[in-house]
């Protein structure tokens, strides 16, 4: 297969590209729109907003989610906020500044044109959400409030307490349900996409499993939009939800969609530390806490077991403020995480395991009063206390980095279309906007930008300009039969193995998590990565020979669901390690120990790695093929990122 990676970036100056594109795209005439059927998989911010918008435009939409309600997609758990270049604070923000911060924050590994478009539409998102009744935080005068987030020197983050993702998702969900009520969206819950149907070289449908009955279903559409989130659960422990998985994206990859930058994962600096082997997931403490909380560890190793309140000011090392005086506690996530690891590696970590640092609100409470701190962060403090049984108003929080987000994903062009015509990817499922490190409060922005303001236009342009004839939802073609059969065979094989195995899905899954976290985590090196690839291959073999679970495929069976997802993680994990091995530079969240500055910061090698790595699947247990999309920067100059 010859693959041409054309990003299809429109001509013209960066701030005119999107405007010009919109002015010249082909439109589908209103009478024809209702003949087209669009499949949208996933109902998070990107999926719900896209499905609602398509339906409002007149398309027939079928929308799928694995949960029992569209409202439960994992966007719901985003805490801190959403960025927008509104400049309400009059602190010098602008579209260009948001664009610049995002490109720089991503360590110059994202596509300029996509990021600029994101910054442009960021302002519309806030207006859209206000119109939907999203209760953003307000000032006493009735205007929208803002807070600061990492990697920016302006205050451009909009929020709804510590539940911004919840409120934005419920806004998109209500828009979706409005279209369900209007009969324009067929919403199918408890359905998992297990494969993509490609016919005549175009994505034309999906195969799903009804998670309530176990039935395998065929669904046809004239285009398929994947908004299925990221793949952080490869690490087993992450802040992602229990059902978050990579299967839909991975199965599309196996059908020909290139997977871009799989090694770019975000390790979020402020999570509640791991307590024990039993742990099923990790909980994030929003980045917004770094507005007021101060991060520190004891200066002296002998103080690590002391009660933090008994350690005098002179013996505390506020290491972020010390090393990065201009950004202080608000350095970007990758920098904050690496520094936490470093002080713990030095033996100055606190808590029972020595893998934690303090996040202290003492000074904020003294300065602003207990009530003000409570108003801003009450629900987060409450959650912290529940999990740890400690009161963060009195004792500093203990935090440690954890896997949170994946910047990599399916390769898409400017239209958000993958290398399979007719297959689009939005939100965290694509790779396009965050480069090697995502800034806080930018995931919500990207999800809603893709769903409300980008996909509705680019997908229409695809249908109209490619002369796609409406297929009427017909699933009788042999491609559907064949793909369905492959899905059924795969499930049957899993179920048969499950009956005779000896190790539970979770046991094998935890092993994968350990390999990924220790060797493909916060710091990576050649030896570790090569070893990880071998270990994962061995574990995959073990999975196929000894995984154990009970029950059949003809019923609700969450262990079978998990087994299928882990099977895919075992392939994706290897690709992540390969990508990390191939990229011999450090950039953003990808830290290769071999490539660092004298001060231990990530060191890019622009002349060799200023590209997107897009991997082609070539078959089971076969080496994938790497394709490169060169990245050119015409509007920002590449510098060694500094937050000092």
């Amino acid at each position: 297969m010859t693959i041409e990676l054309n990003p299809n970036i429109p001509e013209g100056p960066i701030d005119k590209k999107w405007e010009d594109y919109l002015g010249h795209i082909k439109l589908v005439n209103p009478a024809n729109k209702r003949k087209y059927k669009i499949i949208v998989v996933g109902t998070g911010l990107a999926g719900a907003s896209a499905a609602a918008s398509f339906a409002e435009m007149g398309y027939q939409v079928t929308s799928f989610c694995v949960q029992d309600s569209a409202r439960r997609a994992h966007s719901i758990a985003a805490q801190g906020g959403i960025n927008a270049a509104k400049n309400y604070q009059n602190d010098g923000d602008s579209v260009y500044r948001l664009f610049y911060d995002t490109v720089k924050g991503g360590d110059y590994r994202s596509r300029e044109a996509n990021v600029h478009r994101l910054a442009e539409v960021s302002r519309n998102i806030i207006d859209q959400c206000v119109a939907q009744g999203v209760p953003f935080a307000r000032e006493y005068g009735g205007e929208l409030a803002n807070r600061s987030f990492g990697g920016a020197q302006v205050s451009r983050t909009f929020y709804a307490r510590g539940q911004t993702g919840q409120q934005l998702l419920l806004g998109a969900y209500s828009a979706l349900m409005k279209m369900v009520d209007a009969g324009k969206v067929d919403l199918k819950v408890r359905q998992e996409m297990l494969d993509l149907v490609v016919k005549d070289g175009r994505a034309q449908g999906i195969i799903t499993r009804n998670l309530e009955t176990g039935e395998i279903e065929k669904h046809a559409g004239d285009a398929v939009v994947l908004c299925t989130g990221g793949y952080g659960r490869v690490y087993f422990l992450s802040t992602n939800a229990f059902n978050s998985n990579a299967t839909a994206a991975w199965r599309c990859h196996r059908r020909g969609a290139l997977f871009a930058n799989p090694c770019y994962t975000q390790i979020h600096p402020t999570c509640i530390p791991v307590a024990g082997e039993h742990q099923s997931k990790l909980t994030l403490m929003s980045e917004s806490l770094r507005n007021d909380g101060r991060v520190w560890v004891p200066k002296k190793k002998e103080d690590i077991k002391k009660h933090p309140n008994e350690i005098p000011e002179a013996d505390r090392d506020y290491y972020l403020e010390r090393k990065y005086p201009s950004f202080g506690n608000l350095v970007p996530r990758d920098v904050a995480s690496r520094n936490a690891k470093e002080v713990c590696d030095e033996g100055r970590g606190v808590g029972e395991t020595g893998r934690a640092v303090y996040l202290d609100f003492r000074d904020a409470i003294k300065r602003d009063g207990l009530q003000t701190v409570k108003d801003k962060y009450g629900n987060l403090f409450h959650m912290y206390q529940k999990i740890t049984d400690e009161n963060p108003y009195e004792v500093p929080m203990k935090i440690y980095p954890a896997v949170h987000y994946t910047m990599g994903g399916l390769w898409v062009d400017y239209n958000l279309m993958t290398t399979i015509p007719g297959l689009f990817a939005g939100g965290e499922a694509n790779f396009s906007d965050h480069g090697a490190n995502r800034l806080g409060a930018s995931a919500l922005m990207q999800g809603l930008s893709d769903g409300y303001f980008v996909l509705p236009y680019t997908l229409g342009n695809y249908l109209a300009s490619q002369g796609v004839q409406p297929g009427g939802g017909d699933t009788s073609a042999p491609e559907f039969e064949q793909t369905e059969k492959e899905v059924k065979d795969r499930i049957q094989k899993l179920v048969d193995q499950g009956k005779k195995g000896s190790r539970t899905v979770l046991e094998i899954y935890r092993d994968l998590g350990h390999i990924m976290w220790n060797q493909v985590g916060m710091a990576r090196n050649e030896t570790g990565l090569k070893d990880a690839i071998q270990k994962i291959q061995k574990l995959r073999e073990e999975f196929h020979n000894s995984v154990k679970f009970l029950g059949s495929d003809k019923e609700m069976n969450k262990h079978l669901e998990l087994a299928g997802r882990v099977e895919d993680f075992l392939e994706l994990g290897e690709l992540m390690a390969r990508d990390a091995l191939e990229r011999k530079e450090s950039c953003g969240g990808h830290f290769r120990e071999e490539s660092q500055t004298d001060e231990g910061e990530a060191k890019r090698i622009d002349d060799q790695f200023s590209h997107v790595s897009a991997w082609e699947y070539t078959g089971e247990n076969k080496e994938p093929v790497l394709h490169k999309e060169p990245l050119t920067f015409e509007n920002v100059s590449l510098t060694q990122r500094s937050y000092k």
Partner: protein, 255 residues
């Protein structure tokens, strides 16, 4: 914070193979429970132990496991989401229990929430209430600037209090009438307080309440168990607001 490991607990759990099968309570013993585990992690552990003994594991819904998605929920010792106030069952920790305790675990019980399997129930009725009017009719596209209509901080805060509902269904499970009033009212009050929600305020309350009745939920008789069980502590003021709006519509005071 001191962790206790190796607790042994006796569990009585509702087992039901599918929607139409009869169900019954079964006894299990789970060992090696740590006080730092969440209640769902304890169930994970039980399931691991059951699979090794070739006993069918217990199905239950969960997703975010941080109390915000609303997927999880079961009745623990007679209380929806268990003994701790303002807490979903995924955020309930085993330090609330002692070694040797017996814990009774059942699904939400309500005519409108049929059991799908074990502790998993069908909450589609909530979806239909939501779609009946739980939205503001506006389409994607250019909108007035977000600051064009000022909204006082207090109003925004109150709307947020209502909007915090996670749609878990604990209110229904806790209510002796299995009423969905708290869930329905929270959405009605959120939009009813905001300027953007005014044009459809009257139709919204009538459509949503009508749908709630159609689904087979009971009526509200001001008992207040719903608010006590609500993990997000949504209060009864929401139901007062809904009833007041409904009365205004019925008496033609609001159109």
């Amino acid at each position: 914070m001191s962790e206790t490991k190796n607790m042994t607990l006796k569990l009585k759990i509702w087992r039901q193979a599918h929607k139409d099968a009869p169900g019954k309570m079964e006894d299990y013993t789970v060992t090696d429970v740590s006080s730092d585990m969440s209640f769902l992690e304890m169930l994970d552990l039980l399931n691991e132990q059951l699979v090794h003994e070739n006993v069918r594991p217990v199905e239950f819904d969960s997703d975010c496991r941080e109390g915000i998605c609303g997927a999880c929920g079961c009745v623990v010792n007679g209380q929806a989401h268990g003994p701790e106030r303002g807490t979903t069952v995924c955020q309930l920790h085993m330090r609330k229990f002692k070694d040797g305790d017996t814990i009774v675990i059942e699904p939400w019980r309500a005519k409108a929430f049929p059991v799908i399997k074990d502790l998993v129930v069908d909450r589609d009725a909530f979806e239909r209430i939501q779609q009946a009017g739980g939205y503001i009719t506006t389409r994607t596209g250019p909108k007035p600037d977000g600051n064009a209509i000022p909204i006082g901080k207090e109003v925004a805060d109150q709307a947020m209090d209502s909007a915090a509902c996670i749609g878990c269904g604990a209110c229904v499970a806790a209510c002796p009438n299995a009423s969905a009033s708290l869930f329905t009212a929270a959405k009605i009050r959120q939009f009813g307080l905001l300027p953007q929600g005014q044009p459809e305020r009257a139709s919204r309350v009538s459509k949503m309440v009508l749908q709630m009745d159609k689904e087979g939920f009971g009526n509200c008789t001001n008992i207040g168990e719903c608010a006590a069980a609500c993990p997000k502590e949504i209060d009864l003021e929401n139901i007062r607001f809904m009833k007041s709006d409904l009365r205004n519509v019925l008496f033609g005071l609001q159109k």
